[in-house]
């Protein structure tokens, strides 16, 4: 599939944003009283999350053929994961708005309403990420997307990048300390790597669920080769679905991705654990940037490596 930058941008950034929101909500119970009451401490991650989500969303909207009609995308939530994603994304703005209002009016987060809002945002964030994943995971013509690990991958990457951002911007200090942070990073890095490794192994083995014979309605016992394409030059289908990535590039890119999203963050986490550090932010920032970049590469591969069954015709 053609790796469209806007979509890669969108899924990476909005995933990180939702992950950030999720961890922020998780952090609320762990905050000290002052922070919990002021709310200002939460404003930074929430706002940053908003920026990430908004940039992601708008890049995906701009990617549309008719951006001005984007509002129509909310209408089909009963059947369309894209629509559901849109709707859910919007709903997450409700608790967000509440938090914003609350912090400006100095209403404490720890009250009941705050709890509801936190739960809403945490669950909403996860759900939105899962919806994004399901947009792809529900597409049977693209086996690499409808793979069963895809929702988990999307979720783990959102949590992984979200956590790194959260830790970088200081959420750590309130709650879990350097060791906790290190543990979290190691955990999500490991998880992301394991999942992706498994996924890549699968798709490398994975043959398309259809053969050219069944695409042409012919018996399975005859070998069929292409003689002529319908059109000698490229067309929408061959450009959109026919993107082919050389195997050797794909190997190299996978390595780079793993290096960036798992190994570098993990390596940054280790000193955090073993070496007492007053200012771990540079390390965390490095881990964070690397993970985001790695996720970007991973997402690019997610598109570029996926084969659409329509290409059995080509």
């Amino acid at each position: 599939m053609h790796p469209a930058f806007s979509v890669i941008f969108f899924t990476t950034l909005s995933g990180a944003g939702y992950g950030l929101w999720f961890w922020t909500m998780v952090a609320i119970p762990l905050l000290d009283d002052q922070a919990r009451h002021s709310g200002l401490a939460l404003l930074v991650p929430l706002a940053l999350g908003f920026v990430l989500v908004a940039v992601g969303l708008s890049s995906s909207v701009l990617h549309l053929g008719k951006p001005l009609r984007a509002w129509r995308a909310f209408s089909q939530w009963r059947s369309s994961w894209l629509s559901r994603e849109g709707v859910l994304a919007m709903t997450t703005f409700v608790p967000l708005a509440y938090f914003a209002a609350a912090s400006f009016s100095r209403v404490p987060f720890s009250n009941g309403l705050g709890g509801v809002a936190a739960l809403w945002l945490a669950v909403g964030s996860i759900a939105t990420v899962l919806c994004t994943a399901m947009i792809y995971a529900s597409l049977r013509p693209i086996p690499a997307w409808s793979h069963r690990l895809v929702p988990a991958v999307y979720l783990v990457f959102a949590l992984h990048t979200g956590a790194l951002i959260a830790l970088t911007i200081g959420l750590r200090t309130f709650a879990i300390g350097n060791e906790g942070a290190a543990l979290l990073i190691l955990l999500t890095s490991m998880l992301a790597w394991r999942l992706k490794r498994r996924y890549w192994q699968d798709i490398d083995r994975g043959v398309l669920p259809v053969t050219r014979n069944s695409a042409l309605g012919l018996p399975a016992d005859r070998e069929i080769k292409q003689f002529e394409r319908p059109h000698t030059e490229a067309n929408y289908l061959t450009k959109e679905m026919g993107f082919v990535l050389a195997r050797k590039h794909s190997r190299r890119l996978r390595l780079i991705a793993v290096l960036l999203f798992a190994l570098v963050p993990a390596l940054c986490a280790l000193p955090l654990w073993f070496v007492p550090m007053a200012h771990p932010t540079p390390l965390l920032a490095l881990a964070c940037a690397s993970a985001l970049l790695g996720t970007f590469v991973e997402r690019w591969l997610f598109f570029a490596e996926a084969k659409h069954v329509v290409m059995t015709y080509y």
Binding site: S75, F227, H231, T232, E233
Partner: protein
């Protein structure tokens, strides 16, 4: 949410015009829907006899052709060097004055100094007549490089032919053999027919080195080596003769199988038919046979000798001990049982044998046995034997008999029409070889032995065919006092005396047609014109006037030199071809070489006559003709352009030249325009361009006085006229009284006389005799052997010249082209829709060949012929004969032509095989053509292949034609219709 409401009742357009398609020469009926003056939709006319409502890819893309940016806009006068494509637009008046001046001066000097050649047009009824009025012998259309082998092979054998003069009996055939056909002119009728056969269960066999298109759906594909079809046909004939699976009754009824051929080696009459005093060919019947009273007494010694068999040493009596006397009677006598084998001694002592005897003797020879030809053809001997059995079974064991009573030309009633449901159709795979004439005759011989010509289920004639063999009209040779030629420049040669040669036996025509080199070049030889005009062979010319032929590119052989000849200058710095006038409708490769360009309209903007006098659109059941008429409103048409229909321009020029036939006594033009000519011109009394609605009141067909309202009648009838052949007249047309009378009544033939099909061609033998030193007109010494060899009265096979004059070691492969079904020669590529299907071509190779050469799919290869090299991209496919390579025809474009961007795939990667095809044989002594008809031997090409480094594009490349690249703005055709109500 509810479903949106759709406007499903929107009228297609606000106007409907019915005319004739000209996206190719098939000439289908089309309904052109217009909306707000623009073309909304072109669909097939369901009532039209040619396409019955279907439409091909080209036809559907007519909109894009009509609105093509490559359309010429105004007359143009060359400003730069010839070939640079630099012009100044001028007004028509200036253009016509200039053209008339050039043509007038030339005519005054010597009309033959005008070479007027037309290409893909179907206006030969007009252009040939115009050339005759002008007085030049140097006129022809494109048939010589197209398929004259088919036309001549057929007309000299059957009085009709493949090409578009006949068709398989789609309704009744059980077995169809397609020989070397990719698309053909009967594009839609063939497709309709094949679709029908698929349902009827008839077997389809495609004989073709490549299996695409029609071959794809054929039951059997015979992947023959190019140029060897004659051998394959002979092997089939051999098998049929051996197994006695021959329709002898058919042969003696309808062919010259029983005609006696004089056997007098060295004599002036050797190989001629034995004739009686009235010139009637004779046959031998047994003395005791009761012959019906023959019309007139035989010449002295009407009683022949007994039959002798040629059994080598000392003739042995045929029916020893039971000798029967033999009568010699006119071969056309009905109710006889003529001998078809055996020696006959004529009353004057000469020996003679029946034609069939010669046929059997020749093709029973072991050299034509399947095992003997198998290797050369690349067809297993078993397959040949099986196919022979299959066609025999289909012809003789099927029960296709039509319960239709008919009357033969002897007045005998037949209760039914006996079927021979084996049909053949052949085209350029056969004809575009230097042995194509004979191969075509071989196929006709095969058909005749099966009784499968115009019998139910077989090949059928389309009116106005069959015609006498050969057709009566001979080419014009001399000019009268008015400067007019005594007959149209193209005609049929009946013997050496009809040739256009001078006292030394040298060619008179610029193209060397009708010379000893190509005596039966009945369509002329457009492919030799530019070289000869440049070389002044036999004479220099003043004006080269071309119409609708892309002669500097895809219709040229030896493209590189052709472009040089067109621009070459003599020692005085003058162009060796002094003036070139060209009419095209689009910015083709050829327009760049004109001094004066006369821009034609598109096919939707002019009057045209699809005339029975030219290339008819009849089918086997009815005669038809048609018109084109302008379908767009005058302002719509004029917008941004000032172009004129070429035919009207030609008449205008004729009037300016004061040619008598085009000028009134007072000097004013006789015809307002072409439409006026179509209606008023009479070729012979009562015969005009159109056969429908003749007579002052429009009540007559075929013949009748001009009808001023004729065109309106055509327009009201969907643009065409058809008249069904009476049911009793639809088969055995060559001997069917009802048919021949009908045909004569409509003016297709002069007299309702039977046409006897010629297995053995006496016309050819006359040339051979001349070459052997007989008769008043004889070839120069240097040509004698050639003429004697290739004018064999029975079909022969010989190695195509290019193969014969090179070695297999040097050039082991054949290279051919095929028509893509969705492109018409060069015109298609300017079409925004069609070019998206194929914007570049590849050279297709068999994987086994590729492996030998180390070539992978997509690699670049050098292809070398004895003449040149091209470097192109290869693709591997297994659906072809392994020693052949092929590509689609005419996809490659010159940079800058057709208003395409200069880096368009057509010009950057696309290519022509023409760059490799020499216009002369490797030995250089003759044109790369058939020695009988002059047909261009495009498919004789022999090449070798080698792997090349990866390239950026194909080569050779030529200097780009001047002109700006087109805009890359998207094309949103149709958007305006969506809005309009």
């Amino acid at each position: 949410m509810s479903e949106p409401s759709l406007d499903l009742q929107k009228p297609v357009g606000d106007e409907l015009k019915q005319t004739t398609c000209y996206m190719c020469a098939c000439r289908c009926g089309i309904n052109v829907h217009l909306r707000d003056g623009k073309i909304r939709y072109i669909e097939g006319n369901p009532a039209h006899p040619v396409n019955r409502g279907v439409l091909c890819a080209k036809g559907s893309a007519g909109i894009m052709q009509h609105y093509s940016p490559a359309r010429l806009r105004k007359p143009m006068l060359r400003t730069g060097e010839r070939g640079a494509n630099e012009f100044r637009e001028i007004e028509w008046d200036e253009a016509l004055t200039l053209a008339a001046t050039w043509l007038g001066e030339t005519r005054a000097r010597d009309p033959d100094r005008l070479a007027f050649f037309t290409g893909r047009d179907q206006s030969q009824a007009l252009t040939g007549w115009w050339a005759q009025q002008y007085g030049t012998i140097n006129y022809a259309a494109h048939g010589g490089f197209c398929s004259v082998n088919m036309a001549a092979g057929g007309l000299y054998t059957l009085g009709g032919s493949f090409w578009e003069f006949g068709e398989p009996d789609w309704e009744h055939t059980r077995y169809l053999m397609l020989w070397g056909v990719a698309e053909d002119h009967d594009s839609n009728p063939i497709k309709l027919g094949l679709g029908h056969l698929k349902g009827s269960g008839a077997k389809i066999v495609a004989v073709n080195p490549v299996r695409t298109g029609y071959g794809a759906i054929a039951d059997e594909w015979v992947g023959i080596r190019p140029g060897t079809d004659g051998l394959f046909a002979f092997a089939l004939i051999h098998e049929l003769l051996k197994a006695d699976r021959i329709d002898l009754d058919y042969l003696v009824r309808y062919t010259n199988a029983h005609w006696l051929v004089v056997q007098n080696p060295g004599g002036a009459d050797d190989g001629l038919f034995a004739r009686d005093a009235d010139g009637q060919a004779l046959c031998a019947v047994r003395g005791d046979a009761t012959a019906s009273p023959h019309p007139r007494p035989l010449s002295p010694g009407e009683r022949g000798d007994e039959i002798l068999l040629p059994l080598g040493e000392g003739a042995r009596r045929a029916d020893e001990g039971n000798a029967v006397a033999t009568n010699l009677i006119p071969a056309n006598t009905p109710d006889i049982s003529p001998r078809i084998v055996g020696d006959v001694t004529l009353p004057d002592g000469r020996r003679a044998v029946p034609v069939f005897h010669l046929v059997a003797e020749r093709y029973l020879d072991p050299q034509y046995a399947p095992d003997a030809v198998s290797d050369r053809c690349g067809i297993p001997a078993d397959t040949i034997r099986r196919i022979a059995r299959e066609i025999a079974a289909a012809a003789f064991d099927s029960d296709v008999n039509l319960p239709v009573a008919w009357t033969d030309t002897h007045g005998r009633r037949h209760a039914s029409m006996r079927g021979r449901p084996v049909a053949m159709h052949a085209m350029r795979g056969i004809s575009a070889h230097s042995n194509g004439f004979h191969t075509c005759r071989a196929l006709h011989l095969l058909q005749l032995l099966l009784g499968a010509v115009d019998a139910p289920g077989s090949f059928r004639y389309q009116p106005p065919f069959p015609r006498p063999i050969p057709p009566a009209n001979r080419p014009g040779k001399s000019r009268g006092a008015d400067g007019k030629l005594d007959a149209p420049p193209l005609g049929f040669i009946h013997g050496p005396e009809d040739l256009l040669v001078d006292a030394q036996g040298q060619p008179r025509r610029l193209d060397h047609a009708y010379s000893w080199s190509y005596p039966l070049a009945v369509h002329g030889m457009l492919h030799t014109v530019i070289r000869n005009a440049w070389a002044g062979d036999p004479n220099t010319i003043d004006v080269l006037f071309l119409f609708m032929a892309n002669m500097s590119w895809n219709s040229a052989m030896n493209t590189t030199e052709t472009m040089r000849w067109l621009t070459d200058k003599d020692e005085h710095g003058e162009y060796r071809i002094p003036k070139i006038i060209y009419s095209d409708a689009y910015a083709s490769e050829m327009t760049a070489y004109a001094d004066l360009v006369l821009p034609d309209t598109t096919y939707l903007e002019r009057f045209d006559a699809i005339s029975l006098l030219d290339r008819p659109i009849s089918d086997a059941d009815c005669a038809s003709d048609a018109i084109r008429h302008p379908v767009l409103s005058a302002p719509e048409q004029a917008a941004g352009r000032d172009v004129r229909g070429f035919q009207s321009v030609l008449l205008d020029l004729g009037a300016r030249l004061k040619l008598p036939a085009m000028t009134e006594a007072d000097g004013t033009p006789k015809y307002r325009d072409y439409a006026d000519y179509i209606v008023r011109h009479e070729r012979a009394p009562g015969v005009g361009l159109l056969a429908g609605w003749r007579g002052e009141d429009g009540s007559q067909s075929g013949k009748g006085a001009p009808n001023p309202a004729q065109l309106e009648k055509y327009i009201a009838n969907g643009g065409f006229w058809r008249e069904a052949i009476p049911a009793s007249a639809r088969y055995y047309k060559m001997a069917n009284r009802d048919y021949l009378e009908w045909s004569a009544k409509l003016g297709f033939i002069a007299k309702p006389e039977p046409v006897v099909l010629q297995l053995y061609s006496e016309t050819l033998q006359k040339f051979r005799l001349a070459a052997q030193g007989h008769g008043p007109v004889q070839p120069p010494a240097a040509q004698r052997e050639r003429v004697a060899t290739y004018f064999d009265p029975l079909p022969i096979w010989y190695e195509p010249f290019e193969g014969a004059q090179t070695t297999v070691a040097d050039f082991p492969l054949s290279a051919v082209t095929q028509r893509p079904p969705f492109m018409y020669h060069a015109w298609g590529s300017q079409n925004a829709w069609l070019r998206q299907i194929t914007a570049r071509n590849y050279l297709y190779l068999h994987p086994s060949l590729a492996e030998k050469q180390g070539v992978l799919d997509g690699d670049w290869v050098h292809v070398d012929s004895h003449h040149g090299r091209i470097t192109v991209q290869a693709k591997l496919v297994a659906n072809m004969q392994p020693d052949t390579v092929w590509t689609w025809n005419a996809i490659g474009k010159r940079r800058g032509a057709w208003k395409l961007s200069k880096n368009s795939p057509e010009s950057k990667q696309g290519f022509l095989l023409n760059h490799l095809i020499s216009d002369i044989t490797p030995r250089g002594d003759y044109a790369n053509a058939d020695p009988v008809t002059g047909q261009a031997a495009w498919f004789d090409l022999r090449v070798r292949l080698s792997k090349a480094e990866a390239q950026d594009g194909s080569s050779p490349q030529f200097a780009p034609l001047a002109g700006a690249d087109p805009s890359d703005a998207p094309l949103r055709y149709g958007a305006m219709f969506r809005k309009s109500k």
